[in-house]
């Protein structure tokens, strides 16, 4: 691991070892196209016994359970779990607004993405990382621990600027892959619902979708008082406002409502929604929050 690499600064060996012990545990995890270390819902020909079923013409004679035939005089075929790889897609919102906050939302997004990518690569899964603006700017799926540095380098060098339209960028994913897998979208999701169509499209592509919202402390609890001219970091729009306690309370109500709407949408779509503050430690998110949400074990 290169120590000058941003990721290298944050990941110690002990943490990486703990990451390697974690696996994705989503209920509808989709099988990849290659064999891997992950249990696939598809019954196959590995060594792990799964079930019996009655013999039907064309079945491989090698899997007939002759002991059962001896007892019942009926032919049964033994089924085995097939171990296949997982296709993990990580989408990071690279808009200007992600640079906002102390610490910045982008920093936490990169750390979480790097850690999950490492976990996938270490499990011999396929990992694809992409930055989302109005377009998708991504890596092709990589596999194996040897690709870790490449993935981390890509994440490190993501350029957070401009405007992001997740609907547009996620819809481009279909061009690159039609295989089922797990898609993690990291963004602040403060937009006029410009992510719903994209995430629906991911679901259409047979992806298990996780939306990870990262908000800065300044967004969660603004400490502005008095007369302010607010500049939108993405659009440059200006808003003049006299901020008092009532306005602040209304802001927080609005933010809460927004998140409730996202959560409701996700529930309807079978999507997992998680919200975190950028001042939280990424280790906590990986080792506690994601396992608690049933994503990792």
């Amino acid at each position: 691991m290169r120590k000058d690499n941003l990721m290298g600064i944050f990941y110690d060996q002990e943490f990486l070892t703990r990451l390697e012990r974690l696996t994705f545990t989503l209920r509808h995890i989709k099988a990849g196209k290659n064999s891997g270390n992950r249990r696939s819902p598809i019954k196959g020909h590995s060594v792990e016994f799964a079930d019996f079923r009655g013999y039907s013409r064309g079945d491989d004679m090698r899997y007939i359970d002759w002991n059962s035939y001896a007892r019942t005089e009926k032919l049964f075929v033994k089924l085995f779990l097939e171990e296949q790889d997982l296709l993990l897609n990580i989408f990071i919102d690279t808009s200007e607004s992600m640079k906002f906050g102390h610490p910045s939302k982008a920093e936490l997004a990169k750390q979480v993405a790097g850690a999950l990518a490492y976990m996938g690569l270490a499990s011999y899964d396929q990992v694809a990382v992409a930055g989302c603006s109005n377009h998708l700017n991504g890596l092709r799926p990589l596999r194996g621990k040897s690709a870790v540095n490449q993935v981390w380098h890509f994440i490190d060098n993501l350029n957070f600027s401009g405007i992001t339209n997740l609907d547009l960028s996620l819809c481009e994913f279909g061009r690159y892959s039609h295989h089922p897998g797990l898609s993690l979208v990291i963004s602040d999701f403060i937009s006029n619902n410009k992510f719903r169509e994209g995430t629906k499209y991911l679901r259409y592509l047979n992806q298990d979708v996780i939306l990870l919202q990262i908000l800065s402390p300044e967004e969660l609890k603004p400490e502005l008082r008095g007369d302010w001219r607010l500049l939108d970091s993405e659009t440059g729009e200006i808003l003049e406002v006299n901020i008092n306690t009532e306005i602040l309370k209304a802001y927080q109500r609005k933010l809460k409502n927004l998140n409730e709407e996202i959560r409701k949408f996700c529930l309807q779509q079978g999507i997992i929604f998680l919200s975190h503050c950028s001042d939280e430690s990424f280790e906590d998110i990986i080792l506690r929050s994601l396992p608690a949400a049933g994503i990792l074990e």
Partner: protein, 609 residues
């Protein structure tokens, strides 16, 4: 409410100015944030692209407008007309009689009156002055024409209600004198009207206002309590009255010393006076107590003590060659056991008598007891005679209010012949003829000595109705009260005590606590304080003599607590015409309020509400 400085209204321009400041768009600080998406939805109303914004509900604006309004109001010097006595001399008279302790107005009439005077003092302007008079039996001027509010307030709070009735006459005399010296004077009397009526018409040169204090008349009180021994049993008489206007049920409790003897439920019609008699009280009881177990507005007359008079007869030796008048007059006195002897048989060893009457004789050595000398012989050293006066008709009373002359009519006295005696320095002449003493009394070496300078046989005095009265007065004075007991009424604040020469110490106790300890020289009168039973112990060496003194708050004038008009003829209750209105300025309060609003405004600004 009016304004002393309405010109300050011009300052009202500050109010639109403040509103304008809120209407004008403020100067903004710039801040880049991640997204204005949420803010946009919140603040559409302030997004208007105009030089002024819509006036919103703003606490700071409200507080600033309020502060400006208060400042404007204070500058206008608002005032309210208050009934008072501005730039004047108020004579406030507070009734201190015991009926003012009635609790029909909480906490008591006296305290309510005190509060009203305090309010009057607080409303005084710096030009006003006040004289404060406490109206008791004797008026007391507590502050004279004072402008010092602190002094006046201190004086008001220092007044305590007394046990006696208030007397109007002396107060009116003081007011009359004060009013003559003051040009803008007015009088306010705070009272329930239960005062001794004014005997004289008083013409005041200033208006008089009566502030009637009190509402109710609900009271049952003891009017009389007496106990006497008769034929080996004791009779107790208690008289009580319902002063209220409702039928009252009361349990009358009789205590013999400290033991309860009887509880007698009694019903009293409005204004009914009822006598209760007990005849089965143990005959050796020293004092009794009556308690009315009843809650009313005036509790002081619900309890009374009576000390049982001692029936020991006093031994008196009459030394006379023969005087039927003295023998008869002294012999019929109920508490006197009269012994007689002639001057020839008198011996100085006859010392066991309480008092001696020497008629036409004075021994060389005076005995220990008190002495009445009648017709002192010529040549005696005690009352040396200069000659003889004859045909005495016009008698001058040197001290008509003396207790020896109480109820004694001397107008028809005629004396044929009397010794002309020069009055000794220790003796006070009570009746004189041409500057020569006829009747006198005094104390010499602890002995009481009274003197009649003439032979009763040579006067018409024994034939007058005033003679037995004079003898009775003499016996009351000469016979010591050492074993007899006394009862004082509400108006008496002192009692006298006959103290034998050998007495070393007198201790006065009430409810088991020593309230007075006296040694030589003993005071002429001993003070008493609150109503109740006092135990008096006279200590002479190893001997102690105990007697009791009952001090009762029995006074029909005070017990009848119904508030009435002052017993004066000329004043009018509703004399509001005399009352003046003055301008009570409010700017001080407004400034304090303004300060408070500014503090709140600062805190609101600091917390960014």
């Amino acid at each position: 409410m009016s304004f002393l400085n309405p010109a300050a209204g011009w300052f009202a321009f500050i109010i639109p100015l403040i509103i304008l400041l809120y209407l004008l768009k403020p100067k903004y600080q710039e801040q880049t944030i991640s997204s204005t998406f949420l803010w946009e939805q919140l603040i559409k109303d302030i997004e208007a692209n105009r030089p002024w914004q819509r006036l919103k509900k703003n606490l700071l604006l409200f507080l600033q407008l309020l502060a400006a309004f208060l400042l404007l109001l204070a500058m206008s010097r608002p005032y309210i007309p208050v009934a008072g006595y501005n730039d004047s001399h108020v004579i406030a008279v507070l009734d201190c009689s015991s009926s003012m302790m009635a609790t029909d107005v909480a906490p008591s009439r006296f305290v309510v009156a005190q509060k009203q005077i305090e309010q009057l003092i607080n409303n005084m302007s710096y030009k006003d002055q006040m004289t404060l008079i406490a109206m008791g039996e004797e008026p007391q001027v507590l502050a004279a024409a004072s402008r010092n509010k602190k002094e006046l307030l201190r004086a008001v709070t220092s007044i305590k209600p007394g046990r006696e009735s208030a007397a109007l006459d002396p107060v009116l005399e003081i007011i009359s004198a004060l009013a003559q010296d003051s040009t803008n004077c007015s009088v306010i009397i705070y009272s329930d009207g239960r005062t001794q009526p004014a005997k004289h018409d008083v013409k005041l040169s200033c208006p008089l206002e009566f502030k009637k204090i009190g509402q109710e008349k609900d009271n049952i009180g003891i009017r009389t309590l007496a106990a006497r021994e008769s034929d080996n049993h004791m009779i107790v008489l208690a008289q009580m009255q319902n002063y209220g206007d409702k039928i009252a049920q009361v349990d009358v409790e009789l205590f013999a010393e400290d033991k309860i003897m009887d509880i007698r439920p009694t019903s009293l019609e409005p204004d009914e006076v009822k006598n209760l008699i007990w005849e089965d009280v143990p005959d050796n009881t020293k004092y009794i107590k009556i308690n009315l177990n009843h809650k009313d507005c005036y509790n002081l007359d619900n309890e009374a003590y009576a000390v049982v008079p001692n029936q020991d007869r006093q031994r008196i030796l009459l030394v006379s060659a023969g005087n039927i008048f003295l023998e008869k007059a002294w012999g019929i006195l109920p508490n006197v056991e009269l012994y007689k002897t002639s001057p020839d048989n008198y011996d100085k060893d006859l010392s066991e008598y309480t008092a001696y009457i020497f008629d036409g004789f004075i021994p060389g050595e005076l005995p220990h007891g008190n002495i009445l000398v009648v017709n002192p012989p010529a040549g005696n050293s005690l009352f040396p005679a200069n000659g003889v006066m004859k045909n005495i008709k016009e008698i001058n009373l040197a001290a008509s209010d003396d207790e020896l002359l109480k109820y004694v009519d001397t107008e028809n006295w005629q004396i044929l012949e009397s010794q002309q005696i020069e009055c000794p320095t220790w003796c006070n002449p009570l009746a004189k003829y041409q500057n020569n003493m006829l009747l006198g009394r005094g104390e010499l070496n602890g002995k009481k000595i009274a003197l009649l300078t003439f032979d009763l046989h040579k006067s018409n005095i024994p034939l007058q109705t005033s003679f037995p009265i004079l003898v009775n007065n003499l016996s009351n004075w000469l016979l010591p009260e050492s074993t007899s007991n006394i009862t004082l009424d509400a108006s008496e604040r002192t009692f006298t005590l006959d103290i034998p020469p050998q007495t070393g110490e007198v201790i006065v106790e009430k409810d088991g606590e020593v309230v007075g300890k006296y040694t030589h020289p003993f005071p002429a009168a001993f003070p008493v304080y609150d109503p109740g039973l006092y135990k008096i112990t006279r200590i002479a060496g190893t001997e102690q003599e105990v007697s009791y003194l009952a001090v009762n708050q029995i006074n029909a004038l005070e017990s009848n607590i119904a508030p009435v008009r002052l017993p004066l003829k000329y004043y009018a209750d509703n004399n509001s015409g005399n009352k003046k209105l003055y301008n009570y300025e409010l700017w001080k309060y407004l400034i304090w309020l303004l300060l408070l609003v500014l503090i709140i405004e600062w805190e609101v600004y600091r917390h960014g509400y």
